[in-house]
Amino acid sequence: MCNTCGCNITDGNRHLLSPPPNRAAQISTPEKILNGLLDHNDQQARINRTRLDAQGVLTINLMSSPGSGKTSLLESTIRTLQGKLRIGVIEGDLETENDADRIRALDVPVHQITTGTACHLDAHLIHSALDRLDLTKLDLLFIENVGNLVCPASFDLGHHRNVILLSVTEGDDKPAKYPVMFRAADLMLISKTDLLPYLTEFSPVRAEHCLRRLASTAPALHLSARSGEGLADWFGWLAAEIDHYRELLKERQTLTPRVESEGRRLHAPGPQIVFRPLAATT
């Protein structure tokens, strides 16, 4: 999906492809070697999370297909919660400031990441974006990931919760088609429910059943950012998560997305090493 066109190389991880000339001089340790294959990203993600925790900013990664209503949901959320919570937004898109402009119009701090050709955000891109926001003035940060049900699921950004939107204009079997993404959900939002009367082929029950078959216990809420239906449940979920997060911070703990805390088992025992003599290979 990604490596053929090079879209997996972002401004955030490009440096990994051009090792510094003195790399050979860097000291190796067994611990370093045990690290997993996604380790560069995960290390940066841990740094990002520590930084967010230092300021107590609950950070939500919003993921979905393109056009499922992430930005509209953010607009409705900001309009209602503004004044009660200090909200910031990081927008991820391949091109344009359009989404950031919509959020900026609501007088909320926003930073747009344009990824060029890259189809996801990674921890390095978020690290740079965090430099552009005053975290001391935020309670809640939304990261609107690039619209894509494949790649964003594989990158820990240092955020605390994954929220995945499934709009009723899509197929209700999306969780079965994209199990890696939907398994990562801490909350699934079935969006654009005001259109349900016109889209009788979409069954919210079937969509939730597909989610449950991934052994997910994540709640599935129904809402429409346009009509306002169901938004109260979403705000309730956010409030509960903020309370939970603040309690954890008091105990010097943090919150990680369920799928991250499960671990990628990247730190499993190191590789088995076998040696061959040079003569045998020539």
Binding site: N3, L37, R213, L266, P271, R276
Partner: protein
């Protein structure tokens, strides 16, 4: 997903391992790719051929072992292989399972070439 940058990470690890063990080349590596890891084994193999050029692993052979999801059922205790998009217990049908395999991305085995002189 990001097979190209993952391959760069593999090369970094191989470079470190070769240095640690005074190896002159990497002959063969095995990577375990879980069905729910978000990594496509075929794409990983393709990307590796691009990235290995000019590195210690220039002539290394990459073997991928694809692993299916395995779950243990929290109700009946059975351990079973499942499909990526149906992690319910195949024995009792319960949805409350724990994924124990199929999410991993592991460099499992490395064969290094050493000058025995």
């Amino acid at each position: 997903m990001h097979e190209l940058s993952l391959c760069q990470n593999i090369i970094d690890q191989l470079t470190d391992l070769a240095k640690l063990h005074d190896a002159v080349a990497v002959a063969r590596i095995e990577v375990r790719v879980g069905a729910l890891s978000g990594v496509e084994a075929q794409l990983l193999r393709n990307a590796f051929t691009l990235i290995q050029a000019g590195t210690i692993a220039e002539t290394a052979e990459l073997i991928t072992e694809e692993t299916a999801p395995r779950v243990t059922c929290r109700t009946c205790g059975a351990e079973s292989e499942t499909l990526p998009n149906n992690l319910s217990c195949p024995v009792c049908g319960n949805l409350d399972t724990k994924l124990i395999d199929g999410y991993e991305l592991i460099l499992a085995r490395v064969e290094l070439v050493r000058n025995e002189d």
